[in-house]
């Protein structure tokens, strides 16, 4: 972890190009644009691409690559907390017994 890491401009440009390209892809693949429909999968695809973009911004633009372990661990724990919340909630809602009015 070198504190004052100076990322060369070329790297920034490469990352920007990657981000724009991925945006282009995710827009083309999307249903309202090209009608390309995978059902449930297109949510998954859109989010996979968004996660790749987010990781790119995180690692290079935000310098997470050169950040000390602690900040990285808290960043990951923030995402973990959201996953825990969502998965427990989805589990609860999925297993709820749906009753109907007896009258």
């Amino acid at each position: 972890m070198d504190l004052h890491h100076i990322t060369p401009i070329k790297t920034y440009i490469k990352v920007l190009a990657l981000l724009l390209f991925l945006t282009f892809i995710t827009v083309i693949v999307a249903k309202p644009v090209s009608g390309f429909d995978l059902g449930h999968l297109n949510t998954f695809v859109a989010f996979a691409i968004a996660t790749v973009k987010a990781v790119a911004v995180g690692l290079i633009f935000m310098g997470l690559k050169h950040e000390n372990k602690v900040s990285r661990n808290y960043f990951i724990s923030a995402i973990l907390v959201l996953l825990v919340l969502f998965s427990f909630l989805a589990f609860d809602i999925a297993t709820r017994e749906v009753l109907v009015n007896p009258l």
Partner: protein
């Protein structure tokens, strides 16, 4: 302050303005102490009104609406304004830099901002007293809070949001301080256990508080814009509010008690002059409690319409969170073994903590087990349980910490006899107040009841008598501490000859905390 104590952080600058704009973590800690004692007094007044209304069945001097408001204010003030900031802000602010050998917390200006945010949040919440007040209970359950509750609810909710922000900033400050400003040689495994308690607490503050922040904002949006996220008439799900609320509010009860446990580790070690038993076990237990605490919130909702399978899952994980607490109690108990125990007031409070928190923890088993919780949920059993863990846990530990570190904070010693009298009042009064409530809960009296059936009457009478005793005890203790601040005799730098770093500087410490660079070679408690 006579000059007997020489130049220190209290008298190095004069005048209120120097206090209100101070960047010294110790002064900010004192300002937090003053604010929180005022809020605790306010909350206690509401609890007394509550208890005297419940002294006998039937309407005594409050109407049902007034009772609901008093009950809500007691809950909201005690949790958001006293227990959440409580130990971390008061003892944490004063002691953390001292215990790790630092000159100040990492972000002093942010520390002062946190204090002002707490005062601002408290002011916003207290405004609701003068409008219609709030009568939803401190849990603000939708759809009551989003629909038919009094309009004052928005003030208390926004106040709680601002105080949540203050709590985040304190947590952030402490994590940065613990990581960056430890003295040379103090590795993570050589930190005092009170610092570990604060670290586990700060993790919860950082990661859990934003969840309640956005939940409260959604609640305000629901009332103002009719957003329909929690209101069933607009398609929302009120149980989702409970999920989001308890996702924060369960880790926050661990946030309230973990620093208390840190204080107890320090006090038990210092007064039995013996190295803590199982230092690593307590450290891992603290972090485990903070971690697993995020997975168990559903045990507040076993009967709330949450699915049965989710209930089973939450009950199973809740059993995990019980184990580290039990381990900690055993560790403290074993520290006393073959020690040289001196029964001073701080140790009395620590032993009182062990007594009361053991009951609190064990009664948690009834509420974690699925089929017994079906009977006990939302009855006075739950009220007794969380008072045993919160008042017994956090408050008993606060007094243990205050009395233990009072010589360091103000350089003067408290009067031992008066301290022990105060402890006796608080300990006896507390048990007389809340033990009958376990029985009320078993008999099936629901909580938040303004009026109740005659057969519950004499237990409520006992509880009210107890509440008078415990509140008298609290007043006695604060008087004892105040008199010690003014007239106590000089305590010297290390009256308890403890081994942690804060005792190696003068008391009260100078503005810079330490005159020379502190070096740490061994563990925090090598008394051998």
């Amino acid at each position: 302050m006579s000059d007997l104590l020489g130049k220190n952080y209290i008298n190095c600058e004069k005048g209120l303005w120097s206090w209100l704009t101070t960047l010294d973590h110790k002064r900010i800690g004192i300002m937090y102490l003053i604010a929180i004692v005022f809020f605790a007094f306010l909350g206690a007044v509401f609890s007394l009104i509550l208890r005297y209304e419940l002294f006998s069945a039937g309407k005594d001097f409050l109407t049902a609406l007034q009772y609901n408001k008093v009950m809500t204010y007691h809950g909201a003030i005690m949790t958001f304004m006293v227990l959440v900031p409580g130990i971390p802000a008061v003892l944490g602010n004063i002691l953390l830099p001292l215990q790790i050998g630092a000159k100040d917390v990492a972000f002093p200006r942010l520390n002062l901002l946190s204090w002002y945010l707490l005062i601002l949040g408290a002011a916003i919440a207290i405004i609701s007293l003068f409008t219609t007040g709030v009568d939803t209970g401190w849990t603000f359950y939708a759809p009551y809070s989003t629909g038919s509750a009094q309009s004052g609810t928005i003030f208390v909710v926004l106040g709680a949001f601002v105080m949540g922000l203050a709590s985040i900033l304190t947590g952030l400050n402490f994590i940065a301080t613990i990581h960056q400003l430890r003295a040379k040689g103090m590795t993570f495994m050589r930190m005092p256990l009170f610092v570990w308690g604060l670290y586990a607490t700060s993790i919860i503050q950082i990661v859990a508080t934003p969840v309640v922040g956005i939940t409260l904002l959604l609640l305000v949006a629901e009332r103002v814009l009719g957003v329909g996220v929690f209101d069933p008439k607009l398609g929302g799900d009120p149980i989702l509010f409970q999920h989001f609320f308890w996702f924060y509010s369960h880790p926050v009860v661990y946030l309230m008690v973990l620093p208390g446990m840190g204080v107890i580790s320090e006090v038990v070690t210092a007064f039995s002059k013996k190295v803590i038993f199982g230092y690593k076990a307590i450290v891992y237990a603290s972090v485990a409690i903070a971690g697993v605490g995020f997975l168990v919130w559903g045990h507040h909702m076993f009967v709330s319409g949450q699915s049965d399978w989710a209930g089973v899952l939450f009950s199973f994980i809740t059993m995990f969170v019980g184990i580290p607490t039990a381990v900690k109690i055993f560790n403290w108990m074993t520290t006393l073994y073959k020690g040289s125990i001196e029964f001073r007031t701080p140790l009395l409070f620590a032993l009182g903590f062990l007594f009361v928190f053991a009951i609190g923890g064990l009664t948690g088993l009834f509420l974690a087990t699925l089929s017994t919780d079906m009977h006990f949920h939302d009855t006075y059993f739950v009220v007794a349980h969380f008072h045993y863990t919160m008042v017994g846990g956090a408050v008993m530990a606060v007094f243990a910490g205050l009395f233990y570190w009072w010589p360091k904070i103000c350089g003067r010693m408290y009067n031992e006899l008066q301290g022990q009298i105060g402890f006796a009042f608080v300990f006896i009064g507390f048990n007389v107040t809340f033990f009958p409530q376990f029985i009320l809960g078993a008999m099936g009296m629901p909580r938040r009841y303004f009026d109740y059936l005659p057969e519950f009457e004499h237990l409520h009478a006992v509880s009210t008598v107890g509440s008078t005793i415990v509140n008298t005890g609290m007043v006695i203790l604060f008087v004892v501490l105040y008199r010690a601040w003014k007239y106590g005799e000089i305590a010297g730098d290390n009256p308890w000859n403890a081994t942690t770093l804060e005792w190696q500087t003068t008391s009260p410490p100078p503005h810079e905390n330490f005159t020379k660079e502190m070096k740490v070679t061994g563990g925090p408690y090598d008394y051998a």
